[in-house]
């Protein structure tokens, strides 16, 4: 308590921020890269598992069960478990991060496809769409809003989780949080924690809003007013 009071009385150290701008920028990029890889790979895996679940319906439950278990494993424990196998590497970080995206993404993809109106499917089949073309041209575009909602949720989750990978030597902006905790009694430590946390939050908000914008661009039919 004493040390915290001491830190806050000294205030936020802008000079530290000024002296470490390059480092902060690099860590922000690292944060974004770790997130991008996790979401990209997570999306590919989820799409594959969703296709399998949609094609062979009984598999959907086991798929959500397994990914659900992965989702509930505490991230700290997962990394501790993985390090002896894959070491202090980006692979370890990504395995952890990806595993947290799967449940959200698969659920949203499958739900999105399921929610495509039955009459639209029937008319598509009735007019001679093949299964593959129907999926790509009809079902996927119509499921897009639900899928993008999943991507936004997964991305915000991953941006938060990336900070935990600082424990295995990565972490993006989490690097500053870890440093700050190690220097907790000093004013610089407080500043590092604030910078790492604040930028991580800002990053999450900006990415979330950008994805919302992308969704708007990709679904022009949702923007028009209903009725004539």
């Amino acid at each position: 308590m004493r040390s915290f009071a001491q830190a806050s009385s000294t205030g936020f150290r802008w000079d530290w921020v000024g002296n470490n701008l390059d480092d902060i920028w690099d860590r922000t990029l690292e944060h974004m890269l770790l997130t991008l890889i996790a979401i990209g790979a997570g999306l590919v895996i989820s799409l594959a598992l969703s296709l399998v679940s949609l094609r062979w319906r009984p598999l959907y439950q086991p798929v959500t069960w397994v990914t659900g278990v992965m989702y509930t494993i505490p991230s700290l424990a997962l990394f501790a478990f993985l390090v002896p196998i894959t070491g202090l590497t980006i692979t370890t970080a990504e395995i952890g991060l990806i595993s947290y995206t799967l449940l959200i993404l698969i659920r949203n993809i499958v739900t999105g496809i399921d929610e495509v109106p039955q009459d639209v499917i029937e008319s598509a089949v009735g007019m001679g769409y093949t299964r593959r073309r129907r999926f790509i041209e009809i079902e996927l575009p119509l499921a897009l809003p639900v899928i993008v909602t999943g991507i936004r949720l997964a991305t915000v989750t991953v941006i938060g989780l990336v900070t935990v990978t600082s424990l295995i030597g990565l972490g993006g902006l989490g690097f500053f949080i870890l440093r700050g905790l190690q220097n907790f009694s000093s004013p610089i430590g407080t500043t590092q924690i604030i910078v790492g946390t604040a930028l991580s939050i800002v990053l999450a908000v900006v990415v979330d809003l950008s994805l919302a914008g992308v969704e708007r661009l990709l679904t022009p039919w949702k923007r028009r007013k209903v009725g004539v």
């Binding site: 109106p117 009459d119 639209v120 499917i121 029937e122 008319s123 598509a124 089949v125 009735g126 007019m127 001679g128 769409y129 093949t130 073309r133 009809i138 575009p141 119509l142 679904t219 022009p220 039919w221 028009r224 007013k225 209903v226 009725g227 004539v228």
Partner: protein
């Protein structure tokens, strides 16, 4: 021509077949309506024709080709399909929706554009609608787009599953009328499913009445079914007013018209009274050659020497020879003399009375 030969459909988990050995021939260029209570297998039958439902047994041929010999998606591209909920693609513009099958068939963009414009005109859809999305259209407009989309690649066969079930009665009546107008120029082979016997009578060149399990109870022209229902089930399904329903299918030109109580413009009072007594009425019409002049009542004859001296009254309602007996009935019951004069252009042909009409109903 579409031929169903002993077609049976059993769905897994149900003891009785949904359609049981149904045989039906649909000729080229005719509208055949499948009608019956729910559970009669009418929609299942329709969906077997484009293989949305695969028959368990029996054969279906379209234009001489067994439908199982063609890949299902290719078969369907050659058969127009319209459903009650229409099923427009919400993420595509109206133009793109109409262009669905031509796009699947790989037509060039220019040909597709021209075709879409042509179809918009055909179904009476404003060209400005083409750039809109389905959610921006009214129910009636969407239904027109559904029909345009089904006609896009000019398929010889059109399957329609309760196509007008989701629109209000006023719009439905207009769309039904438009379908008949379209069909008069397009001559498609149309199979239409409905649960509405009035729609079946209005639209069908022939009507197939199905009972539970896809049993064909009667298959004939609507007037014939109404005149002579083959059994109790059909009679009940047609309703107790089937005599009146049949009137809409009979044109005045189909019946023998009586000249009615008519006199020439120079007829004497005595002649006029004789004519009126002959018909047991208290009025008569004045006809000059084949021109209908008007009419007069017994009272009008008081104090006049001949018909030429009186002031004829005008007929309020007249019927055209092409009107149906249903329209004739409407006119007749709304006049206090229970009679309406029938004209062919200017030419007087005769009279329709309640007796004329009830004779047709009883027949």
């Amino acid at each position: 021509m579409i031929v169903l030969d002993a077609v049976t459909k059993r769905f897994p988990g149900t003891p009785d077949p949904a359609v049981d050995s149904l045989s039906l021939t649909i000729h080229e260029g005719e509208i055949v309506v499948l009608v019956g209570p729910s559970g009669c297998g009418k929609t299942t039958t329709l969906k077997m024709i484009n293989r949305l439902v695969e028959p368990s047994d029996g054969t279906i041929t379209v234009a001489g080709r067994n439908i199982l010999d063609v890949p299902s998606h290719e078969l369907r591209r050659g058969i127009g399909y319209v459903i009650q909920q229409i099923g427009l693609f919400p993420h595509r513009t109206i133009a793109a929706n109409i262009a669905t099958v031509p796009t699947l068939l790989g037509w060039s963009a220019q040909v597709i554009d021209d075709r879409v414009e042509e179809l918009a005109e055909l179904v009476d859809l404003d060209p400005s609608m083409l750039r809109r999305y389905p959610s921006e259209l009214s129910g009636g407009q969407r239904q027109r787009v559904g029909v345009a989309r089904a006609l896009a690649a000019d398929p010889p066969v059109l399957l329609m599953d309760e196509p007008f079930g989701a629109v209000d009665p006023i719009v439905r009546a207009r769309l039904q009328e438009e379908l008949l107008v379209l069909q008069a120029t397009l001559h498609k082979t149309i199979v239409l499913v409905t649960h509405d016997i009035d729609e079946a009578i209005l639209l069908g060149d022939r009507v197939a009445i199905l009972n539970i399990g896809g049993h064909l109870e009667q298959y004939d022209e609507p007037a014939e079914i109404l005149r002579d229902p083959s059994n109790r089930f059909v009679a009940d399904f047609l309703g107790s007013d089937r005599g009146i329903k049949r009137l809409s299918l009979i044109s005045i030109s189909d019946i023998d018209l009586d000249r009615g109580p008519v006199v020439g413009p120079e007829a004497s009072t005595e002649e006029a009274v004789t004519v009126m007594n002959g018909y047991s009425v208290d009025w008569a019409a004045i006809v000059d050659g084949d021109q209908l002049i008007g009419w007069f009542s017994t009272e009008d004859l008081n104090g006049v020497g001949s018909v030429a001296d009186l002031e004829p009254r005008a007929f309020v309602t007249t019927l055209d020879i092409t009107d149906s007996l249903k329209e004739a009935l409407d006119s007749v019951v709304s006049t206090h003399t229970s009679v309406a004069a029938v004209l062919d252009g200017d030419r007087y042909l005769g009279m329709v009375t309640t007796d004329t009409i009830s004779e047709e109903i009883v027949q």
